[in-house]
Structures are given as C-alpha cells and as structure tokens.
C-alpha cells in the first residue's frame, strides 16, 4: 500500500480534488461542503509526502497512460513544482475552512464548492504538467473555474469584472495555443523534456515564445496588461479573491518561468528578459501607487497584487546570466510567489471578514478595527509585513535573495527597485493599518450595524495564513532547499 501510494503520488495529488469536484456538484450543496473539507484535509498529507519524496529522490516523472513523453503526457515533479503544490494545498485548506464560514449554507453560493474544487485540481494539474499542450488545457480549466467563481455574487460589478477577466483569459489562452502550435510545427513535440533538447531561437521558435509570453503575461496581469485584475480580484467573493491573487496568477507565471528558464533557457531572447524586468519594475511602482490611491480595502489589496506580481518578473533579467546570481534569483522569485500566496490570501480573507461583518470595506470607515476585530487587524498587519518584505517574513527572504542576485550579477538597479518597492508597500499597508489602530469613525453607523464577531474559523484561517507567511521568514530554509532540488540547468549551474 505504502509503495503504491509513493508510486502513484503525483496522480493521487491531482485526483483528490478532481474526484471531489464532480461529487460536490452531483450531490449538491449539502454534501458539497463536507466533501470539500474532506478533500482539503486528505490533500495535506499527499502534498507533504510529495514534497518529502522530491526532496529525497529529486525529480519524479509520472507517465500518464504508461506511454511516456513525447508520445504520452508526463507529470513532472521537481522542486519548484512540489513547492507550488504544497503552497496550493495549504492555502487551499485554509480558504476552504474560511469559505465554510463565509458562505454558510446560502443557496446562492452552492456552486462555489464544485467550482472551487475544480479550480484546486486544475492548479495542481498545471503545476505538475510536463507537456505544453496539456498546460493549455490546464490554463483553460483554471481560467474557466476562476471566472465562474468571480461571477458568483452576481453583482453588476462582479459580472462585468468576470466578463473582462474571461475575455482576457481566453485571448491569453489563444496566444499561448498559437505558440504551442508553432513549437509543435517547428520542433515536433509538445513534451517539455524533449523540447529542451531541440528548441532553437530561430524565426518560429522566437515567434512561438513571444506569442506564448504575451498570452501568459496577459493572464498573469503584468503591467500594462493588468487592466482586468483589480476589478476581478476585488469584486469576487473574498475566498475567491484570495485564491485568485494567491494562486491563479501564479499558475500562468509558473508556465512562463518553465518555458523561459527550463525549456528555452532564455537563449531565444537576450533582450526580452530585460523588457520583462522593466515591466515588472513598472508594475511594482504603478501597482503600489494605484494601491495608495484606493479608498476600498479590497481594491487596495488587488492593486497590491499588481505590484507584487512585478517582483516575480524581476527574476528574468537576473536569471539570464546564469551562475550564482541565477540560483539566488530563482529561489528568490519562487519564494516570493510562495510567501505572497500566503500573505495575500490572508489579506483578502481578512478583507472578506471585514466586508461580511460591516457590509462595506471603505478604509476610512474602518477606524479602530483593531478594537472591534483584533484578530483580523492583526492578520492584515502580519500579512503586511510580508508585502513590505520586512523580516521575519517570507517576503524578506525572497527580497534578500533578489537583492543578492542583483548585486551578484552587477545589476544593482534591480536591488534599488526591490527596496523602493518595499517602501511603497509600507506606504499602502500603513495607510490601512493607521486607521485600524486609530479611533473609530466619527459617525458610528457602521458600529451600530456591527452584527458581532465573525465565526472564529474565518478569522482563524486568515490569521493562520498570515502567520504562515511570517514563519517562512525564519523557518524557510527547507523550502529554499526544496526549490533548488532538480532546478533547471540554467539555475543549477549545470552546463546542459
């Protein structure tokens, strides 16, 4: 049995939510809730086991259908994949627990459960896929479930936001699929491992990478293609916002990184990585400044996501040169994705608690929140530490590595961007924290409406995620090591 589990581990990880999802739909909301919880709980040991297994033996390759690439589809679990699965599973659990309290048994949200389980499974499938066409299907699954979840509230804003998101997502997928078509045409395979050997930066190869990059950048919402993100992430129900910002944008980014760093090894475009870096830096500034200008908490948090996505893209110029700088940029980038996932989901869940309790999320109306909802205020503050990149937080470890990579590779200006971005983040985090610690608003209407504390599961789940992002800053070393397990050749310093 144990041996069987170990052998089937990659498939089991994916099958868990994918089995639960249709059941949650078939059996309806009454059973959907327990099914989701059981699936979330059972996923934990599986993901943990997967991570342990990878750290012990290196890359796991699972040949779906027994054919093996390039004919069949392989699931590939290397260090970074295991890390992404782990973070998805952990965030997933807490979001599930939170959602149980948040949606209650309201009939209107009964579709949340199957949609969320499908999204969960799709993300795992995406992180484990070693086949660029299979990734297209995964992308579509992720987008479709994400869009459906955004629209769940059926408010006008949410519907329009979902539509905008949908159109951007489909267009992104089409760009990506075009790239896949060109790659298959020119290099005869869609299996990443095979492609790594044969892909070249010729006309078709370059065009394919360019198209796929545009598509994925659109889906990741990198500046200036971020237009769809703030409305979608801020108008979605809060557990959904949490998942979108924490995990969904990371999905397309993950594919981008796989393509560039792992498959094409950035050889195809010497200059393009700088372009991505510059766009990332612009995103940091633009997103932060927009966040500062927001009056609604969820909008602020959503723009913060736009900014934080920017950091991910600083990885590209830093990784291009190889060497120790590449390794630092790699761990820094992935670690940023992980800690941002925990912290941002915590923030959105905290915002959701506020919204659910007070019926609004206007920042100026939330004065004295630390008195009325101390756990939620604390959650926001702790998550803010990661946003700012201050120790002890996962964000700090990530930024440490990025600054290191910048200096190592002689591109010190990225270090300036990282530090300045942290300060801007501080500005928008404290724009919220200040009032939280301050006095109650003059007009106490909100307080009068205050129906009392939220279920402890909601506040607890959010706080747990925030604490998680903090713990990463001190106990993050095992994760840093895992990220480097079977890292791409460019990063690991192995000459291909």
């Amino acid at each position: 049995m144990a041996e069987w589990i170990v052998r089937q581990l990659p498939a089991l990880v994916i099958l868990m939510p994918f089995t639960a999802a249709p059941l949650a739909y078939l059996l309806g909301a009454k059973f959907g809730r327990p099914i989701a919880l059981v699936s979330a709980l059972l996923s934990q040991p599986l993901a943990l086991l997967l991570a342990i297994r990878v750290s012990r033996v290196g890359t796991l390759r699972y040949e779906v259908g027994g054919w093996g690439g390039p004919l069949g589809i392989d699931l590939v679990v290397d260090g970074v994949a295991a890390v992404m699965v782990l973070v998805t599973t952990v965030v997933g659990l807490f979001v599930t627990v939170y959602a149980l309290g948040y949606f209650g048994d309201r009939e209107r949200y009964r579709f949340f459960w199957p949609l969320w389980l499908f999204l969960w499974g799709s993300l795992l499938a995406l992180f484990l896929s070693g086949d660029i066409f299979n990734l297209y299907v995964c992308l579509e699954l992720v987008s479709m479930s994400a869009v459906a979840l955004v629209g769940l509230t059926l408010s006008r804003e949410a519907l329009v936001a979902a539509m905008r998101y949908m159109l951007a997502a489909i267009l992104g997928s089409l760009f990506y699929l075009l790239g896949v078509a060109l790659i298959y045409g020119a290099f005869g395979s869609v299996d990443m491992q095979t492609l790594r050997e044969v892909i070249r930066g010729d006309t078709t190869g370059q065009a394919a990478l360019a198209l796929m990059t545009v598509g994925l950048v659109l889906k990741t919402a990198l500046f200036p293609l971020h237009f769809w993100l703030p409305p979608a992430h801020s108008n979605a129900p809060s557990p959904v916002s949490a998942v979108l910002s924490a995990l969904v944008v990371k999905g397309s980014f993950y594919i981008l990184v796989r393509l560039w760093v792992d498959v094409a090894q950035t050889a195809a475009f010497p200059g393009a990585s700088t372009v991505l870096g510059v766009l990332g830096a612009t995103a940091i500034f633009w997103g932060s400044i927009q966040a500062l200008r927001q009056e609604r908490l969820k909008m602020l948090v959503a723009y913060s996501t736009v900014a934080q996505i920017g950091y991910l893209f600083l990885m590209f110029p830093l990784v291009t040169g190889g060497g120790p700088a590449a390794a630092d940029a790699w761990t820094g980038g992935v670690f940023h994705a992980v800690s941002h996932a925990l912290a941002k989901s915590a923030m959105f869940l905290a915002a959701g608690t506020v919204l659910a309790r007070f019926g609004h999320d206007r920042i100026e109306g939330l004065g004295g929140l630390s008195r009325r909802a101390p756990a939620t205020a604390m959650t926001f503050g702790l998550a803010g530490v990661t946003m700012m990149g201050l120790p002890p937080s996962g964000g700090f470890v990530a930024k440490w590595q990025m600054i290191r990579a910048s200096i190592e590779s002689g591109q010190w200006w990225w270090a300036v961007v990282v530090v300045a971005g942290g300060l801007l983040a501080a500005a928008y985090v404290f724009k919220v924290l200040g009032p939280f610690f301050g006095r109650e608003p003059e007009a106490m209407d909100e307080a009068d409406l205050d129906p009392g504390p939220s279920p402890w599961t909601m506040e607890g789940a959010a706080l747990a995620l925030a604490l998680g992002s903090l713990v990463l800053g001190v106990l993050g070393q095992p994760l840093l090591d895992l990220i480097m397990v079977s890292a791409p050749a460019l990063v690991a310093g192995v000459t291909p």
Binding site: P22, L26, F111, F118, F133, G151, L182, G188
Partner: protein
C-alpha cells in the same frame, strides 16, 4: 437604457491596428518558416497504434496516448456548465421554460430528426474506433438533437429529475476518473489501459462521455437560454 456604440474611438482603432499588424507579421513569418521536414509525432503514433487498442489514430491520441488531456477537457465542459448554471436566472438547470416557445413545424421536424440523430451518434461512437468519429462527435450530435428538441418545445420529460440531469452531466467525468483510478489500483499508472481491456474500457468511457457531452451541450443551451416567462417579467420592469 444604455446603448452600445458600434465603434471604438479612433485612437483605439489605430492602436489595435498597429498591434494586429505586428502580431500578423510575426505570425506569418513564423508559419512560413515552419520546416516541411519535421514529422512530429506522427511516426510514433503510427508505431504505437497497434498497442493503443483502436485503429483510428485521432481516437488513439485522444483516448489513449493523450487521454489525460481528454479527461481534463471533460472537466472544462463540466465547469462551463456549472458556470452557466450559476449565472442562469433560475439556477435550476431545468428544461421546462423553453416549452413556451413551441412551434408546430419545428416540433414535427424535431420528432423526426431526433431519433435519427441519436442513431447517428451511436454510429459515430462505434465508428470512432477505426474511422472518423468518437465520443465528441457523437456527443455533439446528441447535444444537437437535445437542443433541437428543446427549441421545438419539448419539455423535460417528467422522469428526468434534477438529480438525474446533474448525474448525466457529471457521469462522463466520473466514469473517466473511476476507470483511471481502477487502472491505478490494478497496478498500472493513471489512464494506463491494460492491453487486453483497452478497447473495451475506452468504449465504456466513450459511451458515458457521449451521454455527458450530450447532456452538457443541451444544458449549456437550456440553462443559458432565457426563460420566456422571465423575459416578459423583466421587460415589464424597466430600469
């Protein structure tokens, strides 16, 4: 009441034109540069066709070599259905409201065509093993038949409960997953068909897929189709 202007402002159109020109140039250059010598995976598919259990290469790819894609694809279909249901005004996913729009000519045609289409889909399902066809084509035809029936005013038969409809929508995916897990339990990997059972299992999966695809396509239409009653009610209460 708002109106939608048919055109975007000129600057947007110019920018769009520039973007499209760039993408078009990049794309045309790239497709013309695709070498005519790269044979891709076709030889590999041919070499393994025997072992796949079916004779139609496309079916072999869809159900066996890349069966995992197909599994996820069914999930996409299910997701779309759930999404559409979550958006529908009634959120019930029933067939009833369409009946209001019955049309005698259409309904006569439907009464004749629907059984024929079901037969055709059965043929397509069976033929997919060695000739063009398969679950998707068969399912689409079932779906088309269902849509036709719905359009011509046939209400949901009373014996189809809401649960049964949900079951029809999800059965394809569930059977697919069950088969996949069964194969794992039997000692293989995910979706690794045992050689002697490959054909049978694939037909089993395809059959249920056909049912689901049909049900999903009909549901997509029905759930999304605006109930006439609802429409009348809403057009009365203008904003």
């Amino acid at each position: 009441m708002g109106k939608v202007t048919p055109k975007s402002p000129l600057p947007i159109r110019i920018a769009a034109l520039a973007i499209c020109a760039g993408v078009g140039a990049l794309l045309s250059r790239a497709v013309l540069a695709i070498p005519e010598t790269e044979s891709g995976l076709a030889p590999l598919v041919d070499a393994n066709l025997e072992a796949s259990g079916v004779k139609n290469a496309v079916t072999a790819v869809l159900l066996n070599f890349r069966g995992y894609d197909t599994l996820l694809e069914i999930a996409v279909l299910m997701l779309a259905t759930i999404g559409v249901l979550s958006l529908s005004v009634t959120q019930k996913g029933t067939w009833d409201p369409i009946a209001a729009q019955a049309d005698p000519v259409l309904s006569a045609l439907a009464r004749f065509l629907a059984p024929v289409m079901i037969l055709v889909s059965g043929y397509l399902l069976w033929a997919g093993e060695h000739a063009p066809g398969g679950a998707f084509q068969a399912g689409s035809v079932v779906g088309a038949a269902g849509v036709l029936l719905a359009l011509s005013g046939y209400a949901r038969p009373a014996w189809i409960s809401r649960f049964a409809l949900r079951a029809a929508i999800s059965v394809g995916f569930i059977v697919f997953i069950a088969v996949a897990i069964g194969e794992m339990i039997a000692g293989g990997l995910l979706l690794q068909y045992p050689a002697d059972l490959a054909k049978t299992l694939m037909l089993l999966v395809e059959t249920w897929l056909t049912v689901s695809i049909g049900a999903i396509l009909v549901s997509l239409f029905i759930a999304s189709a605006s109930p006439a009653e609802e429409l009348r009610m809403r057009s009365g209460g203008e904003r």
